[in-house]
Amino acid sequence: MMIASVETETINPNSTTNFATAVRISNLTKRYGNLTAVNDLSLTVPTGKMFGFLGPNGAGKSTTIGCLTGLIDPTSGMIELLGQEFNSNSITLKRRIGVMPEGLGLFDHLYAHEFLAFNARIYGLEESTIRNRVEELLEAMDLASATNKRLADFSTGMRKKVAFAASIIHRPDILFLDEPFESIDPAGVAMLKDWLRRFVSGGRTVFMTTHVLETVERLCDDVAIINHGKVAWRGDVSQLMTGGKLENSGEQFDTLESLFLHLVGERHGDLGWL
């Protein structure tokens, strides 16, 4: 009963955004000294999509998400969220996005309910709403029995669940998730996937990075693969579920993995001694 209540409360299908484009990135560049982490990246993500943002380690995924959420100031380029220009001082826009960042960004010495309530208060939710949502989220995430334990003592999977709960507690229009499924048990992953599908079906947008390509094939309908800070491929992967193929420069691929390896280059280090 409670879990159902969370789903209807948190993912409200009536609260769709009025913009056709959820995220628009134009010529985004981020440099750290001589290192160019993101190189003139341009990308548009329509509203109501489950968008997968893929790439090998060090490709610039987290930097891009950092720029999109206000964590990192771009060196140049422009970002628009929900039709409005976004930068690290866009407080009004930040109220409309939910973020699960790299490293989760938890305050370790708070209890889970204190942490969730803190986030909800910052987003300006009413006190009675905060209490209801926190209790329901803890119940749904199977964390209600851990109310006497600080976040520092949580397992990695539990911490991830708390970070996810904090990112959705205010019913954002866009959800930015950095590796959302890593370290979560299979039942938890199935639950999150279900919630994300419902979230998107309500007209909201999910922008996520993950290394689990099978998950992307089953969950995402729109994917971009970046390499060396640039978009290397962009397309719809939902056709794979119906036996279709992915295409890149005339070549066809049966799986997202084969396309990914083709684009980023397969690595075959020869460990003869192994």
Partner: protein, 532 residues
């Protein structure tokens, strides 16, 4: 001990020193190393100028019949130093690899135990202590005669006993700290020792209670330093052998205690689920700061009040002020007032300073959240500073009330009270103002659970050390030079100082935003990057 084990052990020693060196190469590490070298240099210079070989020479040549007595107390001093260095500064056994860290290497239980202890004893600061102990012992041998073999053997066993006593004590402290009320208990014990220990010793010295001293000396003879002194300088063979056996018994007993303590299962922090409390005193207090700051102040108050170091600091503040009455020599009302002024300035500044001076340091990866939450980044810093100001002000007013009670027998005028309160508030505002700047320009990732170790950044250390030394000597010198009557004529100076500090605080509160915004990304990387 086979050859393979020796190779693995040496590899781990190399790794430990590489880690020390890697830390020393970081910005804060270089500064910490500079401080450490300065302290160690001073310590070595002092020891070798006055002590070590010299002391051994002096004692044995001037008062040979009392050599054992002096050696006992000197070795006791070194023994306490060894424990103190490890307990307060985290050197020696505490800094070595943990059992968990060593489990990844191909070592069995006994080898891991041995490696941990050997690496602990090979810590740079402990090596210095070992050198000092050998220096002292060789001094005794050089002019006191006896066998060099006996001297070196006894000293080695004494060092082992010192190390074992230290690690047993650290383990006991660790076990107590794991319990719910452990930090409070340890804090109270340390507080009593620090506050009233010197007082008790001072009273003993003043009253020349020879009987008490004799009793202490007899007691000391039964301890490792007493046994070592007897084995080094005993006048008969029976005395030497008896003391050496006593020293060995101590080592074995401590080793047995250590093995028993380590065999205890660790507590797992697993506690039963509790019902959520939605409205407590931190919620009530934070509401005072308005809608904009309330959630951030709430979070910060919880952090402050859960940090053992901050809690200890808040609890001890009033007692430290009162301890000034007993611990610092002063003859008359003038002296009392000077010391009180200085103590209040220091106490109101240094209390719970750690979190305020490295405000983001305890957030670790949490600092990222301030960047994407719909708040101005600077509000997080301001909220942390405000909550620190609130708690510290509370400690100051409690201390002030206690001070009034304790000093009621002294001549106290309204001007004196105004000066006292103004000085305390000036310090409060000054330190909190500086806290804004050190948090932004000298940030450091902090260990929330560390109780005793000084892990503050260079800037924070400079503020604390400078803030203790300057007012202490400045105020006492001013009172002594000018005299109390002259000083009281200028009673309005502290009032002006307080207003100036309040203005500095307000200025810093607003001006810090520009600096923070320009360093925001760097700050996040520095604080969050180290832990993820």
């Amino acid at each position: 001990m086979n050859n393979d084990f020796l190779k693995r052990f040496l590899a781990l020693v190399r790794l430990r020193y590489k880690l020390i060196w890697a830390h020393a190469r970081t910005g804060n590490g270089k500064i910490a190393m500079l401080f450490a070298l300065y302290l160690i240099g001073g310590f070595v210079a002092l020891f070798f100028a006055l002590g070590g070989v010299g002391i051994g020479f002096a004692i044995t040549s001037i008062e040979p019949e009392r050599a054992e007595y002096f050696a006992r107390w000197m070795l006791f001093g070194l023994f306490v130093n060894g424990i103190g260095l490890s307990l307060l500064f985290g050197t020696g056994p505490r800094a070595a690899f943990s059992e968990e860290a060593l489990r990844r290497y191909p070592l069995d239980d006994r080898e891991r135990f041995l490696v941990r202890q050997l690496i602990g004893i090979l810590d740079p600061v402990w090596l210095l202590l070992i050198a000092c102990t050998y220096g002292l012992a060789i001094g005794f041998w050089w002019l006191g005669g006896g066998s060099i073999f006996r001297t070196l053997l006894t000293t080695t066993v004494f060092i082992v006993a010192n190390y074992l006593a230290t690690i047993v004590l650290l383990t006991v402290v660790g076990l107590v700290m794991e319990t719910r009320r452990g930090s409070g208990l340890i804090g109270t014990v340390v507080l009593l020792v620090v506050s009233f220990g010197p007082l008790a010793i001072a009273l003993l010295i003043n009253s020349r209670k020879a009987a008490v001293w004799n009793a202490l000396d007899i007691l000391l003879k039964m301890t490792p330093p007493g046994a070592a002194a007897g084995a080094l300088l005993g006048d008969t063979a029976a005395n030497v052998i008896g003391n050496f056996i006593l020293l060995l018994v101590w080592c074995l007993a401590l080793l047995w205690a250590l093995e028993k303590l380590e065999a205890r299962p660790h507590s797992t922090n697993q506690t039963a689920a509790a019902s959520i409390v939605w409205e407590d005193y931190t919620d009530q207090l934070s509401k005072l700061f308005g809608h904009r700051y309330a959630p951030l102040v709430n979070k910060s108050l919880r952090y402050h009040l859960r940090c053992n170091m901050i809690r200890f600091s808040l609890i001890t503040a009033p007692v430290i002020v009162l301890a000034g009455k007993y611990l610092i020599p002063h003859k008359d009302g003038q002296g009392y007032f000077a010391v009180s002024l200085a103590m209040f300035f220091i106490m109101s500044g240094a209390t719970a300073a750690a979190m305020m001076l490295n405000a983001f340091g305890y957030d670790n990866a949490g600092i990222r959240r301030y960047a994407f939450l719909p708040i101005r980044f600077v509000d997080a810093l301001r909220a942390m500073n405000l909550s620190s100001l609130l708690l510290r002000a509370f400690a100051v007013f409690i201390s002030f009330a206690l001070w009034l009670v304790f000093y009621s027998s002294q001549v106290l005028s309204l001007r004196m009270l105004a000066m006292m309160l103004s000085t305390a508030l000036a310090s409060l505002f000054l330190y909190n103002a500086l806290g804004f700047w050190t948090s932004v320009f000298s940030p450091k990732s902090m260990d929330f659970d560390a109780m005793w170790n000084n892990r503050l950044s260079f800037g924070a250390n400079a503020v604390i050390i400078g803030g203790v030394l300057i007012p202490f000597w400045g105020l006492i010198t001013a009172v002594n030079r000018l005299g109390l009557t002259t000083l009281l004529r200028f009673w309005w100076v502290p009032l002006l100082l307080m207003m100036a500090c309040a203005c500095l605080y307000i200025f810093s509160f607003f001006a810090i935003e520009t600096s923070l915004n320009s360093r925001r990304e760097r700050l996040i990387n520095l604080i969050a990057g180290a832990r993820d």
